[in-house]
Symmetry: C2
């Protein structure tokens, strides 16, 4: 990833509204973007997410209809639907524990205390609050993904404006135990996108940082 200056990259990026429909993100680049999301931090390291990459034209047309008609959904190179695990329960936590044991070459029994802590946390929050928690973790992955896009000079449009119930239906997510949390269209800006010319708007540092 060539962009040495991260602040410069973040200033370069903007929420792209019009994509160049002729330009595709290469397979190699797409894999790097997904790899950055995969490596994101999450609470307990639980990674309560999956990433659905939609390229199929017809599917994207259907999604656009329940996504406030936003053209980025169909026109970007790829649409990434960042999904959260609906039920981070004992079974899911067990899968994670086994993954740790395998990667670190230790016995899952050695992780019993950690497993119990996570199970207790999940039970205490309850299913609905756990899904909200999972979505927050998924937003960390979004932040990492947008950072990767900016560093690679790949344009992106993060979107919350869509009907998640309909998205879940069209993509068959519920039966996979997933809930669509937030979208990120990736690709390359159209030369016609006026939004690229607007000055970035952020509150001043002095208004958002408090030192104690």
């Amino acid at each position: 990833m060539e962009h040495k200056n991260f602040i410069g990259a973040l200033n370069w990026r903007y929420a792209t509204k019009q994509f160049d429909t002729a330009k595709k993100v290469s397979k190699k680049d797409l894999n790097e973007l997904l790899e950055s999301a995969r490596l994101s931090a999450s609470s307990f390291g639980l990674q309560p997410w999956k990433f659905v990459v939609v390229e199929d034209k017809k599917t994207r047309e259907k999604l656009r209809e329940v996504g406030f008609g936003q053209p980025q959904i169909t026109d970007a190179s790829h649409l990434i639907v960042l999904c959260s695990i609906r039920d981070v329960d004992g079974k899911y936590i067990r899968k994670y524990i086994e993954n740790i044991a395998k990667i670190r070459g230790i016995s899952a029994d050695m992780l019993k205390g950690f497993e119990d802590t996570m199970i207790g946390f999940s039970k205490q929050l309850g299913k609905q609050a756990m899904l909200e928690w999972a979505k927050k973790q998924t937003y960390i992955a979004l932040g990492t993904l947008l950072s990767a896009c900016a560093l690679k000079k790949i344009d992106a449009s993060p979107m919350e404006g869509f009907n998640p119930v309909e998205f879940d239906k069209i993509l068959g997510l519920e039966k996979l135990g997933l809930a669509s949390a937030v979208l990120c269209a990736v690709g390359y800006r159209s030369e016609k996108d006026e939004n690229a010319k607007y000055k970035k708007v952020r509150f001043d540092m002095k208004d958002i940082v408090i030192k104690k």
Copy 2:
């Protein structure tokens, strides 16, 4: 920011548990970290966050007591408390609109439609759901901040394990209209931190990416 390879940087980072208490993040580096968070994406560009940087030793000792005693709270160079705006209401939205108008040199009246959309969104969700929404946006900023840390080879420990009610009291956040959302301690790892040696655990790409 020197680390050219973002994937490499993400693989380098880990949730640091033991910080070197003698090593401080320079003022220049800290500003760059905060600048990355400031430049983060958010829905509507509303930036419903503020960042409280705690350096004071006594304050951090108090916070640690209501933060499950986690040593990162006191031992890292700086503790950043990422806070969300408690009430993204018409008044807050107006401030944002005026900020856009000022930066882009246009009249706030030209943004009336955009302002009304945001006010409608806020009213429809209601105060409690809006705070949850604001926290999600704050997690994007966390993702950006962790990316910046990794690129700068500054260690970080994101933490959800703390009592937010007590944090808000100690830091006087409620009267500022803020709610503590998530913590990020930044600094440099201690040579004694065994966690640095563990292999990173992530699910395989094939298990978390679905192509459509």
